[in-house]
């Protein structure tokens, strides 16, 4: 790639060289000069020049110009408010006009202290007001959702939020209404702003018009600490800061990793933190007591009991992992259990390192020319921020082809493997284009796929190796599936055999405890030891329950779907000891030396897994390790067969919605985002059964049924219905749908 042409621009008398095409605001920054802005936000698309805050004087142009709408040209001479009286006057005027109707809310406004309007008024604005008329008023604040409050009086109509809703997240729910001085921001009717990315408008808003209801009146910027960490609720691993006050997490904000999340967060990662203080959080070990249920026991007794269970079970132990443990946590567990000969572990899904040969940062998706997305589960449910990258790619002109039950190219459920075979076959039109493109990306989102091995085989067949703009992503269901799997394997080189009978089942984490397969396994096991955060999960069928911690309370590392190793930091002290603390003690009782410090454990793992990367270098904005050479050639496997529908019966596609899981269930403000009791039908299937949108229907399979509301999805393939996992109960793969 050739170096961009440099141009010389003079800003307030300082000459600076920037690549041709750099925006003027960035050019100013390069020269160390501030050009103040409100509406300018490059992530939202081309600049609009609406707020008029960035007015500057350009030599040769008679009128003041909106700096944000201009790009650097060679020889441009720019004067900002610092050196141009006219520009200073213009910026002062903009602020005066904004303040004309802006309420004097600073003392009660959450934005105070981190408010661009305050800061810019201080720097460029008038010191007092000349406005003597009553300011326009609105009822305020109004909750536009349980998580976001809107204060229309404070709104300066910079349109950042509406542009986000329209363009970036594409939900189109937050809009401007009316015209001129009557303009206001609103949702449709009184419906809440219900979309997975709604919370980003809180960070985008340059004033206190859009604020977090969770954070309302909770803290002031000078009494908080922002602890840098990474969200571990999905396999993207967005970089976040946890704002803490007096030892409690008060909010989550983005820390902007330009390659991973670009400053966006999904609402789950943003608002679910209050699960830390859920009323049913387990803070002490609980032991089953016959006839009395469960009783809390002190830690010594708990560890004694754990030791007893482990000794009695010998090597007949199976470990059920969640895939949300840290790498160090999983490793610690593995060193203990595998040290005892218990090598069998189950994970929610297969993992593979095959895609390491085609590694790219998520941001590469935006730069792509052609993106092909396969798989049965929408990316927006599994890895929401990846969906934003796909949308950004479309906006940038990329062609994004989705092959799935609701895709631009329809494919039956379970057909992703077949699609891979088809694309690799010579003469396939899309396959040819993938071979020819300089920047092509493949994405597999959904079950199957062997942890990415299938996709790697396809990438290999398409000649992606050696083409640095081409890469592939496999989207797992668990946040750290691969990290956990590799940490488990690294603990020992021995193989084991699946124990029969299972004398002890170790359940690690809430996701494992909620998994019906694990539950079924627990029925067969003689005893169960569970590590969970909440009462409702394993308490009841485990024999010993040890309190678990949350990702916000752990120090350690995780590996995201890019293969990037990222650092979690403890943001608050957990109410019970960290897992590594008691694991280390427990291991000691068996003569196994296990350090309780993540740094030490990482150092043990690093030579084998991470090329010797030192723990301290994982870094605030972790880098992606370079691609590895393609391993042994992976073969494209023929697909597993799925029973097709038979005209009357339809294929049921279950999916795990984004807003599900133990943490989300315990956040009252997020309940409105939980999936409605709905079944999604194609327009054809609905019409044939005379089902209209919103009709109550019965969905039936052998022996079970569910009553749900119908939703018509015009994009869904005929013959397929979709139901969120939590509403699908025990329904089988083939179902009948009848109008009630």
């Amino acid at each position: 790639m050739s170096a961009p042409e440099l141009v010389t621009v003079t800003v307030d008398g300082r000459a600076v060289q920037v690549p041709h095409g750099t925006g003027l605001v960035e050019t100013g920054l390069a020269a160390g000069v501030e050009i103040p802005v409100f509406c300018y936000e490059p992530r939202l698309g081309p600049p609009v020049g609406a707020c008029r805050m960035c007015l500057v004087e350009i030599e040769g142009m008679p009128k003041l110009q909106a700096g944000c709408t201009l790009v650097a040209q060679d020889g441009m001479v720019v004067s900002t408010a610092a050196t141009s009286k006219k520009a200073a006057e213009g910026q002062n005027a903009t602020l005066e006009f904004i303040l004309v109707n802006h309420p004097l809310d600073c003392p009660v406004c959450d934005k105070g202290g981190e408010c661009p309007l305050q800061d810019l008024t201080f720097r460029y604005g008038p010191g007092n007001t000349r406005m003597t008329f009553p300011k326009r008023t609105f009822d305020k604040p109004i909750p536009i959702s349980p998580t976001i409050a809107l204060d229309r009086e404070r709104c300066i109509l910079c349109y950042r939020c509406t542009r986000f809703s329209e363009t970036v997240s594409g939900d189109g729910q937050l809009v401007a209404s009316n015209r001129g001085a009557q303009s206001l921001i609103t949702t449709f009717e009184d419906e809440p702003y219900r979309a997975p990315f709604s919370g980003n408008v809180i960070e985008l808003c340059p004033v206190g018009a859009l604020t977090s209801t969770q954070y309302r009146f909770e803290a002031r910027p000078w009494e908080i600490q922002n602890v840098p960490t990474v969200c571990a609720l999905c396999p993207v691993g967005c970089n976040i800061s946890a704002t803490t006050r007096e030892g409690k997490v008060k909010r989550i904000i983005s820390r902007n990793h330009p390659e991973v999340d670009e400053g966006w967060l999904c609402d789950k990662g943003r608002f679910a933190f209050s699960h830390l203080r859920a009323p049913d959080r387990i803070t002490e070990p609980l032991r089953r007591v016959r006839r009395r249920g469960f009783a809390p026991v002190p830690w010594d007794e708990a560890l004694d009991e754990a030791e007893r269970l482990l000794r009695e079970a010998g090597d007949h132990i199976v470990t059920a992992l969640s895939g949300s443990e840290t790498i160090e946590g999983a490793y610690g567990l593995a060193r203990l259990l595998r040290g005892l000969g218990a090598h069998t572990a189950i994970l929610p899904e297969e993992t593979s390192d095959a895609l390491d040969a085609y590694r790219l940062p998520l941001s590469a998706i935006r730069a792509a020319e052609l993106v092909v997305v396969l798989g049965d589960e929408p990316v927006s449910e599994r890895a929401p921020v990846l969906d934003l990258w796909l949308r950004a790619a479309r906006r940038a002109g990329a062609e994004v082809v989705t092959c799935g039950p609701a895709g631009s190219t329809l494919a039956a459920p379970g057909a992703a493997a077949q699609v891979c075979l088809d694309l690799a076959a010579p003469g396939n039109e899309l396959g040819e284009r993938l071979r020819a493109a300089a920047r092509a990306i493949l994405v597999w989102s959904g079950p199957g796929g062997q942890g990415g091995a299938q996709l790697a085989a396809l990438a290999g067949a398409l000649g992606f190796a050696g083409r640095e703009g081409c890469g592939a992503f496999y989207v797992p269901a668990a946040p750290n599936a691969r990290g956990v799997a590799e940490a488990w394997s690294a603990a020992s080189d021995d193989e084991g055999s699946t124990p029969d009978p299972i004398k002890l089942l170790v359940v690690s984490g809430d996701e494992a405890a909620s998994n019906p397969h694990v539950r079924a396994l627990a029925e067969r096991a003689e005893s169960v030891l569970a590590v969970t955060m909440f009462q409702g999960l394993a308490v009841g069928w485990a024999d010993l329950v040890l309190p678990g911690t949350s990702y916000l309370e752990r120090d350690g590392t995780t590996m995201n779907l890019e293969g990037r190793v990222q650092r979690l930091r403890r943001t608050v002290t957990p109410p019970a000891p960290d897992e590594l603390a008691w694991l280390s003690q427990l291991a000691g009782r068996f003569g196994i030396e296990l350090s309780p410090h993540p740094a030490v454990l990482f150092a043990e793992l690093s030579p084998r897994l991470f090329g010797g990367l030192p723990f301290g270098e994982v870094g605030e904005r972790a880098s992606l390790r370079p691609r590895s050479a393609p391993a042994a050639e992976h073969r494209l496997e023929p697909p597993a067969l799925r029973r097709p529908g038979d005209g009357h019966r339809l294929q049921l596609l279950r999916y795990r919605p984004l807003f599900s899981g133990a943490a989300v269930e315990r956040v009252p403000e997020l309940q409105f985002q939980r999936p409605a009791r709905e079944v999604e039908l194609s327009a054809d299937d609905a019409e044939r059964r005379r089902i209209g949108p919103g009709d109550e229907v019965t969905v039936r399979s052998n022996g079970t049924s569910a009553t749900l509301r119908a939703r018509i999805d015009r994009r869904l393939a005929p013959g397929v219905v979709r139901i969120a996992d939590e509403h699908a109960g025990d329904l089988h793969q083939l179902v009948e749908v009848l109008k009630r």
Partner: protein
């Protein structure tokens, strides 16, 4: 057989290189059916053009000719911009208020007439312009109003 609103909108949408352009004609078609634009209208238009109801409402609320509250069966609009204003528009407006029995900006109790003051209608050479359901009466003077109203009432 009368086409559904969905079908009518689809027929218009295909005339444009980008279907979103059909939002304005689609809203107009919906308004003709409903008499105004209730929330249901926005849902229908949104469905037909694959946009959100919020988007449709946002667009409609920008333009003066879309009514987001119920209006009378007949819309009577008087231009009160400067040219008509200089030649007696206020008198025409007040005469209409009196004859129609309705205050400006409101709808008569029988739901028959909505009376509004509007900006320049483009008939400045023959003031005052009164638009009845978007058809212009030119050169209207205050004393023309009684006869005009009689005519509107079907007399």
């Amino acid at each position: 057989m009368q086409r559904s609103l969905y079908e009518e909108i689809r027929a218009v949408a295909v005339q444009y290189p980008d279907e979103r352009s059909a939002v304005l004609p689609a809203l107009r078609l919906a308004q003709e059916r409903y008499g105004w634009l209730p929330p249901a209208a926005f849902r229908e238009v949104a469905d037909a053009l694959d946009v959100t109801p919020a988007y449709c409402q946002s667009v409609a609320s920008f333009y003066d000719m879309f009514h987001l509250v119920p209006v009378g069966r007949r819309l009577v609009e008087v231009c009160t911009n400067i040219c008509c204003g200089l030649e007696g528009a206020q008198g025409v407006l007040e005469a209409l208020e009196s004859e129609l029995g309705v205050r400006v900006g409101e709808t008569s109790d029988d739901g028959e007439f909505t009376l509004r003051a509007v900006e320049c209608l483009g008939g400045c050479g023959s003031p005052t312009i009164v638009a009845i359901d978007n058809r212009y009466r030119e050169g209207v003077r205050a004393d023309d109003v009684p006869a005009l109203v009689t005519e509107l009432r079907g007399g």
